[in-house]
Amino acid sequence: MSGRLPGSLNAFIAEPVPATITGNRAQHLPMSAPVAAAPNGSIRGAIALEGISRVFGGGVIAVDQINLTIQPGEFFTLLGPSGCGKTTLLRMIAGFETPDAGRILISGREMQNVPAHLRAVNTVFQSYALFPHLSVAENIEFGLRMRRIARPERKLRVDRIMALLQIDAFARRNPAQLSGGQRQRVALARALVNEPDVVLLDEPLSALDAKLRAELQVELMRMQKRLGMTFVFVTHDQHEALVMSDRIAVMERGRLLQVGPVLDVYEQPRSVFVAEFLGQSNIWKFATHAGNVAQTPIGNLVVGAPIGTQRTAMIRPEKIWLYPEAEAPGDRPNLFPGTVREAIYQGASTHYHVELADGAMILALDTNNQAAERSWGPGEKLVLELKPGNIMLIDG
């Protein structure tokens, strides 16, 4: 399968956008359809979760009093380790599970007690869940058929979405005859063709190989921006979350730890868990401080801002500066000489596990823009600079 952006999509972008895709959205769900449509266009696609909780058998709380607002047209990602409750939360938005407490508003309407088939929400499943007895075109048509949309319009919309996703070539094939990437596109087309208020994606790329996954990440993101629909994406892959999302929510043990734009969450994690889950980090706890100097296990660390109640200092490996011993700037704070214990060459960058004088380990990353002249092997000595402005302070 071609990994390039489909030519037809380029053509499509140049054309005026057809009404049925992004036009008058209030008319997307005809009156004949038994689906609760948005009362007005402005909040169509908005999701509000108010105090949502869900308890499973044995008193296990999968989702714990979550409040969350997702804007119309946003690419929103729920990120967390498996078992954190993100899939349960997604399933409650889809209508496969009911919350024990709280309200779910979709496009401004209360939905927590509305069954799945009456919600203007469509899901792309991790397993794709393509109907094995139907062809690709029939799979995509299924939702329109269930809503009793007239046959000519059905055909029009199915053809258009298949062209958009470049799957028209195998419209007549059975799902069993498709590759993983093709199935993924069919599953996406099957959701998008209904022009729902919200598209839910439950780790839809996890079954694909790395290269295809990277291509589809970009394609999915562009598709979402083009169509302007709200996407709620669930993943445990932090890289995927960083690449695709407008905003992300990091979940753990049924609670939201941090919600915000990708950049904010990465640069300013508010907890150790977020810092460690999203990207790599060096973290030190400290008990005492003097002004803006934290007394950490590796020594005194000058930080950029005055220390309040925070008791944890964190720095990302890529924000550490590395110098050969001879070139180290002598007159600056936070200089730590060390010995390389392990150097992991990764093509674009190299990871160094450096042992400091007192035995503490620190992870630093160097971009290989001059790898030939500047690299260190195990046992070699260097100097690390932890610039005060690059050190983040975390509560707790």
Binding site: G59, A62, D64, G85, T88, T98
Partner: protein, 321 residues
């Protein structure tokens, strides 16, 4: 769905001021139960009404007195059970015990014979190219799709007084002149073996097809003779199939009705025919029901032994639903 099971790993400390019990979960469970009842309910109800309940009634009749027309009558009594054990006003007679033992023996030897016939066939099929195997298996099963009466009738033809086989037996002096190999115990044994052979082949084939040949390869270096290789590396692997086969053959053979009545004749009474006679000829329902209780006890004992043994073998046989 893994989310669901993973969630079980959340420690209770994470659970603070959230609702205590899952009301949504209870509602979902109720909805599931309701859907279960409207889909599976009618079928289950049907089986309970037309088999479980009638069987209970039949068993209960074994504890009634006999009425004037052989029908069950109050008061409740243990007389029919005692009669089955051989006690009557005339004293003790071993006739019933003999009949039960004879039926058991017939069932067990039928199982044994089917095992002897099934092993070569199963391994012959396994030795063929995979594309050919289903067809060869089908040829074993096909005869069993014809009605049991027809299959048994075929042996009446083969074993009757005028048949070639009977003539052969007569000339060899194995059989008095003018008599046939049928009716009799031998004919019954042949009939049962023939009728139930496919029920041994199919489970044995299923087990043999899954055979781990690497164990056989490993055994080849250890054991000198082919026979020892078979007993130590192949046979144990087919045990689950063999067990199912024995159950599938012995239980129906024990209570078979057609073979004893067509091939057995009057002298070698079997429990199936004896029970049927209490309902069809000399009506004595309580006595027939008491015989049925004994038969079911043996059947259940067989199933129990099978369950225990297959559990010990770690096989998942019969745990499909």
């Amino acid at each position: 769905m893994d989310e669901l099971s993973d969630a079980a790993g959340v420690p209770m400390s994470a659970i603070t001021n959230a609702p205590q019990s899952g009301t949504a979960e209870r509602a979902e469970r109720l909805a599931r139960a309701w859907r279960l009842w409207i889909t599976a309910g009618p079928g289950l109800f049907w089986i309970v009404l037309f088999l479980v309940l009638p069987s209970m009634i039949l068993l209960a009749i074994g504890f009634f007195s006999i009425g004037n027309y052989g029908n069950p009558h109050l008061p409740l009594t243990l007389t029919p059970i005692r009669e089955v054990a051989g006690y009557s006003i005339l004293g003790w007679s071993p006739a019933n015990i003999t009949t039960i033992l004879r039926s058991l023996l017939q069932a067990v030897s039928a199982a044994g014979l089917t095992i002897l016939l099934a092993y070569p066939v199963v391994f012959f099929i396994i030795a063929q190219p995979p594309a050919l195997r289903p067809l060869l298996l089908l040829f074993v099963i096909l005869p069993s799709w014809t009605n049991q009466v027809v299959r048994t009738y075929a042996w009446m033809e083969l074993l009757g007084p005028g048949s070639a086989l009977s003539h052969l037996a007569q000339t060899l002096g194995l059989l008095p002149p003018h008599l046939g190999l049928m009716p009799g115990l031998l004919a019954m044994q042949i009939g049962l073996t023939y009728n139930y052979l496919p029920y041994m082949v199919v489970p044995l084939y299923a087990a043999a097809e899954k055979l781990d040949w690497s164990l056989v390869e490993a055994g080849r270096d250890l054991y000198a003779s082919g026979a020892r290789l078979f007993w130590s590396a192949v046979f144990p692997q087919t045990l689950p199939g063999l067990l199912s086969g024995i159950i599938l053959v012995a239980i129906p053979a024990f209570g078979d009705y057609v073979v004893p009545t067509l091939l057995g004749g009057g002298k070698s009474m079997m429990i199936g025919a004896l029970i049927a006679a209490q309902f069809l000829q000399t009506p004595n329902w309580p006595y027939g029901a008491a015989l049925t209780i004994f038969m079911l006890i043996f059947t259940c004992a067989g199933l129990l032994v099978f369950r225990v043994m297959s559990k010990r073998l770690g096989s998942s046989e019969g745990s499909m639903l």
